[in-house]
Subunit: 193 residues, 2 copies
DNA sequence: CGTTTGACCGAAAATGAATTTTAGTCAATT
DNA sequence: AATTGACTAAAATTCATTTTCGGTCAAACG
């Protein structure tokens, strides 16, 4: 039974190629070659290159969601969960070959599709955090606030400390990133004395 | 008396041209033309285009410093001063024709010199804030912390709320930006209840 | 004699025509 | 009915030619 699942073959080939060569340098001929199918076959499953890319992106994002869900633990408090989920999501993003390649492509080529893909990932992260924040507000763990604004700022806060800041100084150790996150989010800066 | 100050003429012409056309599209021939001097004359005062650009940049940065100094008021507390100085500096930056042009050029052309100029401005802002933060630590207005990390994060926090966020939603009104700044910096997020 | 100048130079960038590559189609094949 | 790859139109790349630009310097100027 079971004739080869050509859709699967195409999907796997495309995932490999996008991760290895990026959006622009992935050609439909190449995907067909890797998948061992005729080029026309690709178009029976996907209307065009963009849709194929979206499908790959979507599946990577789904993986990311799973990581996030596995990381959230009901027995931990909001701030602990927040830190761990940000850490997990961004670690995942920074290590996933597809996202690494898209970041390079954005930086080096400025490919709009790479931009679009990364923006989509960022939105998913923000809206995931947003859910966590909304839950925390309901639990009265944090004070009422606009969850979207706050989750956006949290992501920025984290990436400022973990990433952008490296251009100015040595990368901060994880422990210290956590410390500063908590300083801003949990305690604020005002002197306790 | 007073033969025309040709150095001044060149400087004014260059300032006008960089602000109007950006770094790349400003040619030495054009600067000479605007300044009404021969091109060779420029090179008696400045070794090359880069140095001329640096001089213009430096003078814009000096203006910015003056604004900041005028804005800091000893009779206000740290958080008030912080908010007002960030606001003043970034308003200035956003309205100064040179910086507007350089931002466009960075976005549209990716000119490295435009990048460099804006990075320099950002460094000045961060180190200015850093001074304010260090003072506040000495005054025991805020708890001890790494002033560079904290001032960097403050700038990012502000620009996240005032700028980057606009891609996701309507721009936040000033009052609300201030509110969120204070939420993070002064109080932290934890529920008071 | 010190200052100013613009014609001049080589390097770098812009142009555009010729060539190659690529996304997407479809008649032939299995 | 599903699959294919030769085919096409459009986009990207190449590359020789032309133009522009930063920087120099011998001549002109005062």
């Amino acid at each position: 039974m079971a004739a080869v699942d050509r859709r699967r073959l195409v999907l796997d080939a495309a995932a490999k190629s996008f991760a290895l060569f990026g959006y622009k340098a992935t050609t439909m001929d190449q995907v067909a070659k890797i998948a061992n199918v005729g080029k026309g076959t690709i178009y029976t499953f996907f209307t065009n290159k963009d849709e194929l890319f979206d499908e790959i992106l979507h599946s990577a994002i789904t993986d990311m969601r799973k990581i996030a869900e596995r990381t959230i633990r009901d027995d931990r408090d909001f701030f602990d969960n927040l830190y761990r989920v940000l850490d997990a999501l961004l670690d995942f993003r920074d290590e996933h070959a597809l996202f690494i390649k898209l970041s390079q492509e954005k930086r080096d080529l400025g490919t709009p599709k790479a931009d679009y893909g990364l923006a989509k990932v960022e939105n998913v992260i923000v809206s995931y955090i947003q859910g966590v924040v909304e839950q925390a507000i309901r639990n009265d763990e944090i004070r009422p606030c606009d969850a979207q604004v706050v989750s956006y700022v949290m992501l920025r806060l984290y990436t400022s400390l973990a990433g952008d800041f490296n251009q100015l100084r040595e990368p901060l150790p994880k422990e210290q990133i956590k410390e500063y996150m908590l300083l801003f989010l949990e305690q604020g800066l005002r002197s306790s004395g």
